[in-house]
Symmetry: C2
DNA sequence: CTGCATGCAAACCGTTTGCATCCCC
DNA sequence: GGGGATGCAAACGGTTTGCATGCAG
């Protein structure tokens, strides 16, 4: 619940996970990240990757994407922005539709929840899948 | 991919699942629905519930919600509307913010995807959890 | 030395699937 | 009688967790 505050140690593993995540503009799943990190730290465990992603997300260093699909995805850019997910292959990209600043206020007015945030997710078919490359296992 | 078309048989199980789902305005998970249905059909299997929810979603009879959280949730009302999810207990409610009709067009303009749909999900704290009843296992 | 972080493997949980049986047409 | 639907249980995939060891402060 605290941001950047509980200054955790920046271990080699943590640092490299963060570096690898920052390198890409895709929004890798934990195991994709695991594969990337393993090239530099061959003995790292999947559990460590999960633990650290969770930790960094809690501390606001990265974003755990609240998107559909079966796997969680992570994002090194923490400013609010929206995403589009390919309903064929599951890939997630940024979309630069302007952020709807007043949506949260509107929502707060019409709900008994304490509204904290929002996210917009588009679904569609990515360029690769449009070209008939139905390669990806079809997510939903 | 077909809507209402492949007219599947309306078995007792399917009918009751649909009835129970229609009864509630919460957005039950498969196993919550399983519990509800089991009161009327004690011998029904979880697999049957999953199979039929999937089928009915494909045929457009119900909605499989593309929301965050660990479990999928289902909704008997198929018109486009947005949701708010309690980040403490995971519960999902409708929110009656007006649907943003032109968002998809905007998105299509700024993306190389073929944009098909969108969904807005708010996060917040539900009334029950605000009252200190931190009962629910904290989802994220 | 002390405790947090790691690697490893087993446990977990939600969902899917294979299969024998059942039931409707 | 035949084909889809069901109940059951095992398999699966992603994530979490327990535990012994390692390493930094």
């Amino acid at each position: 619940m605290n941001t950047t505050e509980s200054m955790m140690r920046l271990t080699t593993q943590r640092q490299i996970i963060l570096e690898e995540l920052s390198k890409v503009k895709t929004h890798p799943t934990a195991s994709e990240l695991y594969d990337m990190v393993r090239k530099r730290l061959p003995r790292i465990g999947l559990g460590t990757v999960y633990r650290n992603l969770e930790l960094m997300a809690e501390n606001g260093m990265i974003l755990k994407l609240e998107v559909g699909g079966t796997q969680k995805r992570f994002d090194a850019s923490t400013h609010t922005h929206y995403h589009i997910r390919c309903s064929n292959c599951g890939r997630v990209d940024d979309i630069d539709t302007p952020v709807l600043e007043n949506l949260v206020k509107e929502a707060a007015a019409s709900s008994s929840y304490k509204v904290l945030g929002h996210h917009v997710e588009f679904t569609g078919i990515c360029p690769a899948c449009q070209k008939g490359k139905k390669a990806g296992k079809s997510f939903h």
